[in-house]
Amino acid sequence: MQIFDRLRERFAMAGQGLAMAGKKNPWGSSGNKGGGSGGGDGATPPSGDGDKPEGPRNPWLPGGSSGDGQKRGGRRSASIEDIFKNRGPEGPRRGGGGGSGFRLPERPGGKSWVPIVIVSIGILFLILSSMHLVEPREKAVVKTLGNYSRTLDSGLHFTLPFPLETVDIEDVEGVRAVNIPGSGERAKLILTGDQNLVDLSYIVRWRIADLPDFKFQLAEPIETVNEVAEAAMRASVAEKTLDETFTGAGRAEIQQRVRERMQETLDAYRAGITVVGVEIEKADPPGDVVDAFRDVSVAEQDADRARNQARGYAQQTIAGAEGEAEAFDKVYEQYRLAPEVTRQRLYYETMERVLAQTDKTIVEADGVTPYLPLPELRRRANQSAEITARPQQNTQGQ
């Protein structure tokens, strides 16, 4: 009731302002205009406002107690009956202030608006609570007085209004994803079958398969999915060795097993949930031993490097052998055609090349062993090389 009163005050103020500006009150009838603006507003609006003892108007205060109220001709306390009755043949009771500015248009027969307002609010509520738009991805469960009665598919549906039937709409097509461990959660190490630890993070994707089951079978379905996922993951990893969890094939198997296990468990709970997929995002060795794992991969690279080097050597060796053998074969072919000549030619050519580049001494006399000044020879050779080099240096110096 007070709310109406307050509303009325607001409108009244607005009306007053408009009246002062010399405009028509949008809600008022012509009779009202005469009462509201003709009375005194035009003459003494500033004094009227100035009379007020308190600054802001207090809508909750009973009118009669304040000076404002007195000036308005003994406005009574907030009664909705008053507000709506203050019109009609006898005119507005309030003289000043333009308080009577707000008024609903007259209703034929002069009856109260209250029931109409209440009834229309009631009807609106009934319509809103009995009309349900279920989106294409959604379904809804309807409970009649708490008792599950039916499931609504997508579309516009009508049910009994609120206290009789309640409707709970849920997205059933949407796939929900849970990250485990969740963000902010510290990594959980999982024990593998060979009693090693692995740092796993994975995503479980699921959706609602049977809405009534989902709603009415588990007290905490989402929590349950997480727990079932964790139990299934740990059980599945425990069937594998550490190395298997790192390989693609092993991971795929684990994912598959986790999905099956989860589905089995959830079906046993009649959870109404389908596990769409389980994906292992990351399977890493625990942080404490990661160096040792890195060393293993370094060792693999070392081993590969050694093998590659050996392969390089092998190719080089074999190619060399093939080349040499091929060269021999070619020469041999020619040799076969003319053995003696070829042999002689090769002999002389080789001797030429060899002897052309060496110091030669031919000892003629039989039985005489002459002193061979080999070191001397060498020194002389070196000196001559120096002598020939020196003038060049000098000319360069000058």
Binding site: L145, A219, T224, A268, Y269, A292, I318, Y335, R378
Partner: protein, 278 residues
């Protein structure tokens, strides 16, 4: 308005009284819940229990005399976190487990445990000890692997037997986590993993070296075969041919080779023509 009141005063009063009485005695049982009606402290009837006749819906009770206790009908969970369990080979393991249960006999539950939380507190130590007992019979490795299926079935059966006394039914017991306790067990596991990896790295490196040697040796063998095949066609000519190459390599001047001086006897084959004989 006043006419209405004066004319129908009693009717209005009657309607109001009936309405109040209805509001006081009616209650709605939701699909998710089951209800025990308690008359002066005594459970007298139930609504919407599993396997019961009555479904969820609108029901009446005697106002003031009967009160309604709402109990969850859906599956509830009971958690056990971070319990240290000793395996029969004296290894310690931290176990997180959960049990899923459902109230199937609400009257008994109300009498024996009061609320669902009461059931939880009653079952918690039982779950704990049942799990310990069952896992304690197994080795550490068996606790981790496939055998835990049967272990958990046993735990579930034990727990269910106890839970029945509180009007609850245990649907499932699962081990959520099995972890090594932090401190020495975890550290030694890490050390074992580390040494395992070291061994692996060593093996891999050794395998690499072995493979490299084999590859080299195979190449050498292949080269030898190629040489033999080619040179074996005429051993005498090969001897000559190779000797020529060898002389050139040994005596000819070249990078990194010493100077050579050759003393030739006049009888040398090379000087045969030089002497002008013949």
């Amino acid at each position: 308005m006043e006419n209405l009141w004066t004319n129908y005063r009693w009717a209005i009063i009657a309607i109001v009284i009936v309405a109040i009485a209805f509001l006081m005695s009616a209650y709605i049982v939701e699909e998710e819940d089951q209800v025990v009606v308690i008359r002066t402290g005594e459970p007298v009837r139930t609504v919407n229990t599993p396997g019961g006749d009555s479904e969820a819906g609108l029901y009446l009770r005697i106002p003031l005399l009967e009160s309604v206790r709402v109990i969850e009908k859906r599956v509830l969970d009971l958690e056990m976190t971070e319990e240290e369990v000793l395996s029969n080979d004296q290894q310690r393991l931290l176990v997180d487990a959960y049990a899923r249960f459902r109230i199937v006999d609400p009257i008994r539950m109300v009498e024996r445990a009061g609320t669902t939380d009461g059931v939880r507190t009653a079952l918690e130590p039982i779950l704990n000890s049942a799990l310990r007992q069952e896992l304690g019979r197994r080795t550490f490795a068996a606790m981790l692997t496939a055998e835990r299926g049967t272990a958990l079935a046993n735990v579930r059966a034990n727990l269910d037997r106890e839970a029945r006394q509180y009007g609850a039914e245990v649907i499932d017991v699962q081990i959520k986590r099995t972890d090594l306790p932090s401190g020495r067990p975890l550290e030694s596991a890490f050390q074992r993993m580390e040494s395992d990896r070291e061994r692996e790295a060593r093996t891999i490196r050794a395998q690499g070296t072995r493979d490299a040697r084999i590859i080299r040796a195979e190449a050498d063998a292949e080269a030898a075969r190629i040489y033999a095949e080619s040179f074996g066609k005429d051993e005498r000519f090969y001897d000559f041919y190779r000797a020529m190459q060898s002389y050139e390599q040994s005596f000819a001047r070249g990078e990194g080779r010493g100077d050579s001086s050759i003393i030739l006897s006049p009888d040398n084959e090379y000087l045969r023509q030089f002497r002008g004989r013949r």
